[in-house]
């Protein structure tokens, strides 16, 4: 045991000497590994970041929420033409459900459209306008930077009032002061009564409340879309996650009654849940993960080939040195160990530099609101893969060195 430790220690010292003696070449060799490790670490942290924002975004939808809709959002088992042929869900369905449902703590209808939103000279295009009623706020966890959600009076009366997301507020009112201003949505005037705090994350896209405008639902039907040609969504919030299933069962029962379905008829509506979105997202993230790691793995592989190449050159160049070492007593194992630890050390140094590059890179990326942080997992990952790469790419060259015949090696010019 003591002997092996001694051999490892001496082997490492000899390797370090050799690396220092060939600084320029060692640096160039390391470059491949630096790039490889940096990209693997950056990619894995980026994927982690994406995944995290997805999860957070989904969580911001609320795990207690159900969405009764004509369309199944995530379920691909039902053919789209079957869903297309379903009857629209209308305000009448909503009212009946609202009267019958006991389980939910909040119920609100919603209908949407896309319009340009303007304030004086500034405008933002293709903004998702959600029409709903005053109860909507209770189906969400939205919080306000300023003002409030529209109240029952404004909602029932279909007043021209709007609640705007933080992104829209920033774009239309870069210096603040959105409250009580009159904005134009699709050419119609609305008064801003509330500005939301920054909520979601960019990964949510259309779902992101930051990029939404909320108005009383009557306005949607009055100005933007026909009441008869459009289906609404019924937003339902269950009383805690333990009641989600009961709420869902009740909703199915009530909706079947409301829609007048016979016992042998299939549901002509879908109850959507965050879970569906989650599994969709997990699939997407999985694909990104595989693709990302394949690409960065390739970079690492190229780096490893570079190391192997240089190690072969190094063995060739140092044939005489190997001969000398063998003549004065180095065994095959010693030579093998020397060259493997040399390439392992080069790779480890490269890996650590790559890690540093990745950390700096992630800080730069984080400036652009992309959530990446290099954590301890990434550090372990970087060290492990660089060591493994070093040992693997050093193996063949080291073996070539170890099996050199001392007589031939000494004669080599």
């Amino acid at each position: 045991m003591k002997n092996i430790l001694f051999e490892i220690k001496e082997g490492l010292l000899i390797s370090l000497k050799a690396i220092r003696a060939n600084k320029a070449r060692s640096v160039l060799t390391t470059l491949g590994i630096i790039i490889g490790v940096a990209s693997v670490v950056l990619m894995s942290t980026a994927i982690k970041g994406i995944d995290q924002s997805f999860q957070e975004g989904v969580a911001s939808l609320g795990s207690d929420n159900l969405y009764i809709d004509k369309w199944a959002w995530f379920d691909n088992d039902i053919p789209w033409w079957e869903m297309r042929n379903r009857k629209h869900i209308d305000m009448e369905d909503f009212r009946k459900y609202n009267n019958l449902a006991k389980q939910p703590i909040a119920i609100a209808p919603s209908a949407g459209s896309r319009r340009t939103v303007k304030f004086e000279e500034r405008s933002v295009e293709s903004i998702s306008i959600t029409g709903t009623d005053n109860n909507y706020i209770n189906t969400t966890t939205l919080t306000f930077e300023d003002g409030r959600f529209f109240n029952e009076l404004e909602s029932k009366g279909g007043r021209s009032v709007a609640v705007i997301g933080s992104e829209i507020s920033k774009k239309l009112f870069p210096h603040g002061g959105a409250m009580d201003q009159s904005i134009k949505i699709g050419g119609k005037k609305f008064k801003v009564v509330g500005v939301l705090e920054e909520q979601g994350s960019w990964v949510m896209g259309n779902w992101n409340p930051d990029n939404q405008v909320y108005v009383p639902i009557q306005n949607i039907f009055k100005y933007f879309v026909s009441r008869h040609s459009n289906s609404i969504t019924i937003n339902v919030r269950a009383n805690g996650s333990q009641n989600v299933d009961a709420t869902k069962e009740e909703a199915i029962g009530i909706m079947r009654r409301v829609r007048g379905l016979k016992y042998d008829e299939k549901n002509d509506f879908s109850i959507n849940q965050q879970e569906g979105l989650l599994s969709n997202i997990n699939q997407t993230v999985g694909v990104i993960q595989i693709a990302g790691l394949l690409i960065t793995g390739l970079a690492l592989f190229v780096g490893a080939i570079g190391i192997m190449n240089i190690m072969f050159v190094s063995v060739k160049e140092r044939t005489r040195e190997i001969g000398i070492r063998k003549a004065i007593g180095a065994t095959k194992r010693t030579i093998l160990g020397q060259f493997i630890s040399e390439s392992a050390i080069i790779c480890l140094i490269g890996g650590l530099i790559g890690l540093a590059v990745a950390i700096v890179g992630s800080m730069v990326i984080a400036q652009f609101d992309f959530p990446v942080t290099v954590d301890s997992d990434a550090v372990i990952l970087a060290i492990t893969i660089s060591l493994i790469t070093g040992v693997l790419s050093g193996l063949a060259p080291a073996y070539t060195a170890a099996k050199l015949d001392p007589v031939d090696a000494l004669r080599y010019e």
Partner: protein
């Protein structure tokens, strides 16, 4: 007592379809504290013999017994260990590690022998002092003259206290004066009780030895004692 005993050794190389007998049939014995010169023109097999004696190579046929150990049957690792512990090499081209200083070069065989730390350093320094390089220990080979380089090589050969010193044309790359100094060094080492085998094709170099073995075409042509063996002071001759 025989340190080296070889019997009917042959080394055969396959060159194309032809067999080349670098050594045809060689038998010899070398005792402790002998100073032997192996001579012969190029192609006589003296390098091959030296490689086999130095355990760098194994014979195709025959028996090689080194201090009672059968070398001809050894594997690579055992051979490496014999080279490390029993044999000190001095080469014509010095064969020092170019990027390491003199001290590290001399320490190297001790590293492979598993000697660590302070003891290793001490022994290497002592060996360098013995060859007169106490003030050149941290110099790299390219900062040393040819004679100094060969002295480092001699120190490296001596540092493990080997049973034999094997020198292959040790003055071949040196001018006459420096060569003479190195031969003087060998004489001193010999007089300290070491066994030296010298391979050379220069008569005046071989004259330093007490015994001259002449090879021709892979066979021993002549083997004679030319001087009385030096008996180190204080030791009892058999």
């Amino acid at each position: 007592m025989n340190i080296i005993k070889i019997e009917h050794i042959a080394k055969i190389y396959q060159v194309g379809s032809e067999e080349v007998h670098a050594l045809a049939d060689v038998s010899l014995k070398i005792d402790k504290n002998e100073y032997v010169a192996i001579m012969g023109p190029s192609g006589s097999g003296k390098s091959t013999l030296m490689n086999i004696l130095g355990c760098l190579d194994t014979p195709s046929k025959g028996l090689y017994d080194f201090s009672g150990e059968n070398v001809s049957q050894m594997d690579d690792n055992e051979l490496a260990s014999i080279r490390n512990r029993q044999i000190g090499f001095v080469f014509q081209t010095f064969n020092l590690l170019a990027r390491s200083d003199a001290l590290h070069n001399v320490e190297l065989p001790l590293i492979y022998a598993g000697v660590s730390g302070a003891e290793r350093r001490e022994r290497a320094e002592f060996a360098l002092e013995k060859v007169g390089l106490a003030d050149r220990m941290s110099h790299k080979p390219n900062e040393l003259s040819g004679g100094q380089r060969q002295r480092v090589a001699v120190a490296r050969a001596l540092v493990t206290n080997p049973s034999i010193i094997l020198a292959d044309e040790p003055t071949g790359n040196l001018d006459t004066k420096t060569g003479a100094d190195i031969m003087q060094l060998f004489n001193e080492i010999y007089e300290l009780g070491n066994t030296i085998i010298l391979v050379t094709h220069e008569e005046y170099i071989a004259e330093h030895a007490a015994r001259i073995i002449r090879l021709r075409d892979g066979l021993i042509e002549h083997d004679e004692i030319v001087k009385a063996r030096y008996i180190p002071k204080g030791s009892i001759a058999k």
